[in-house]
């Protein structure tokens, strides 16, 4: 006939989905928490967000230029990394901290490994932990010039550690001290539901993480029936943010269904152990980061049996 006929192997049609659309959905899901953070903590937090995202984009562009690879920023994954990192910053932090963090996230944790998909630890988390180790005092300072409405600048977790009550309503709506993005449980849950409904994330990791965490602290703390305590642990300290937006990161989470359940449970239990017996409250990021290293192992141990085959 003529030579403009293409012959490839089936299937001959594809879904329109691509990485950019997925990342766009994650950004949309983070918007409620982002907007709340800015309203609550003021212009400096907006500045932090803009600078962090910009640094992430610029780092990735420069890296690609230097190693002469096509620019990958259009997949928007660097925007997601930058945004998540920014939302994990205290609202008054000097701008150089998130900038350093973003460069670390993008260059060290992601691009040096070969870019999105090849990294084995979550870039945003790596950046956060790097900042936390390097600038511990700054990263733990949750005093906010804006939060005059709050009687103390102690985070809910430090209150609970001292066996004080937390105000649950403040917790749910986000009138607590904390990082820019983690304070409002409601905003985070709206984003999480959006991701679940759009099937961007799978429910297994967050669900099993939250269940195992609650069960763990009920069993091992001496405040089993203290609802204020349980809710405080659940909604405070960035747990919701971490399980819905960081533990579900595709690249660094298991891919098998059973592996996802196992990973969720491990995060829940380890977080519980650290919260109950650890000295600091800043440990969730480390838990996920450490478990990232075990993901390949979890995956290989949980390969599902194929349809119609006997379990070995």
């Amino acid at each position: 006939m003529d030579n403009n006929i293409y012959v490839q192997s089936s299937p001959h049609i594809r879904d329109d989905i691509n990485t950019r659309l997925i990342m766009l959905d994650v950004i949309i899901a983070l918007l409620p928490a982002t907007i709340w953070g800015v309203l609550r903590f003021g212009m400096h937090s907006l500045l932090i967000i803009i600078i962090t995202v910009a640094t992430a984009i610029i780092s990735e562009t420069l890296f690609n230029l230097i190693v002469k690879k096509p620019n990958s920023i259009t997949d928007l994954s660097c925007v997601v990394t930058g945004l998540i990192l920014a939302l994990n910053m205290p609202s008054e932090i000097p701008l150089f901290v998130p900038v350093v963090g973003a460069v670390f996230s993008i260059i060290i944790a992601k691009m040096l490994f070969g870019g999105l998909g090849q990294n084995f630890i979550n870039p945003a988390l790596a950046g956060r932990c790097f900042c936390h180790i390097s600038f511990t005092a700054l990263m733990n300072n949750f005093k906010s010039t804006m939060s005059v409405d709050v009687y103390t600048s102690a985070t809910p977790l430090s209150l609970l550690k001292e066996s004080k009550e937390v105000n649950l309503l403040d917790l749910v709506f986000g009138y607590i001290p904390g990082t820019i993005g983690e304070v409002s449980a409601i905003c985070l849950l709206i984003g999480a539901i959006y991701l679940l409904v759009k099937k961007v994330i799978d429910f297994k990791i967050p669900l099993f993480c939250l269940i195992s965490f609650v069960v763990f602290i009920m069993l091992f703390s001496n405040k089993t029936t203290n609802m204020n305590y349980i809710m405080g642990e659940l909604f405070g300290g960035g747990l919701l943010f971490a399980v819905f937006f960081m533990a579900t990161d595709y690249v660094t989470a298991p891919i098998t269904p059973l592996g996802k359940i196992l990973y969720g449970i491990l995060i829940g239990v380890l977080t519980g152990i650290f919260r109950l017996y650890g000295k600091t409250n800043e440990n969730l990021s480390y838990v996920i980061l450490i478990l990232n290293l075990f993901v390949p192992l979890i995956d290989s141990l949980t390969i599902p049996t194929a349809f119609g085959r006997e379990r070995k």
């Binding site: 006939m1 006929i5 089936s10 001959h12 989905i17 997949d75 989470a253 349809f307 119609g308």
Partner: protein
Amino acid sequence: MYTFKHGIHVLDKKELSKDKPIRIVKPSNIMVYPMQQHIGAKAKHCVKVGDRVLLGQIIGTADGFISSNVLSTVSGKVLSIEDRLTILGQKSECIVIENDGKDDAIEGYGIERDYNSLSAEEIIKIIKDAGIVGLGGACFPTHVKLSPKEPQSIDYILVNGAECEPYLTSDYRLMIEETELLIKGLQCILKLFPNAKGIICIEDNKKDAYEKITSSCNNIANIETALMKTKYPQGGERQLIYAITGRKFNVSMLPADVGCIVDNIDTVISIGNAVCKSIPLLRRIMTISGDAFKDYANVSVRLGTNYKDVIDVVDGFKDKPEKIISGGPMMGQAIFTLDLPVSKNSSALILFKKDPIKNLKITNCINCGRCVSACPINLIPTRMLKAAKADNYEEYIKLYGTECINCGSCSYVCPTKQPLTAYFTYMKSAVRDYQKSLKEKEAK
């Protein structure tokens, strides 16, 4: 409602051709009959150049246990026996016949018969003589499939009316237009299996077909209908059997091992034609669709007709096609020319003016798990791809890669456009060769 686990929802595009009644295509002047249009051994030609042949005459005989007869679908003169390009993409032996347009048929052609008066052996023989093969795509000789070792252990005859591939509507048209023959064909099959129940399985996007068939077989004791959820690949043999009976089997087994026999709609109708009307398998029902055509159609084409004559029924192209697919877009085969004869292993003809996959940009897998949720066989396609790219056969086998049915679901949903299914198709033969070489080494 019946269904299976995982799978995907695909834009089905059936509305293009679904309401077009089946039209009959005039046979070509020169008809071409490949000797290989089924699975198994090639048929042996049994006519000579210059012979006059009749409509329905056997011109190639089944050669071996798994093989099938090839019949002339017109009357005319044998022009030559030569190698020609077939739908399989290679040149192979074909009989070329000049159609004299008279349609003189063999003796006994078209005589009505009562299947009740026939024995099981007689029915099998009629099916074999009629050259019937599985018309769902596999083209496995039907008389072999209907002769399992223990016919009494078969308790389900499932008629596959899922038609889950996008664009395809020919089975749907047949269910509506040939309801009676479909049921008759199924009754013929049921005569071979004393303990079996026949179930006609239809996806719920074809409710009208389901209702029509259900009311037609209302008072037949051993025939039922089943409505299944519309999901791809519901028509896969293993998905169909699982959805209806809950039984599972793997790649090393046959449906008969779990007491089932699955036949496609058109196959059952062809059996009805052969047994009850003495009309052998002479034609193929095809859907003609895709945005390169001026119009869409469901057609009845005599085997041996040139594809170029087939597309005349829709007045040819609107745009020059970039992609020609024989079969559905999920599992069909891309072909590069239309200068081919329609054969038993032909299927739908889908033409796209733009090839939707020629410019796909492949980026790193992001481990999103969409391929895992899509896979009806419960595999981890992205891990299989890694093993396949590394030619790591052991790992591929450990990941159950050999169970893949090449349904294309994983490739369809992948956001980074990994060529998953393409690699798995390649691995199928590569792993087979590898396992063979292992055995040979062991033998030495």
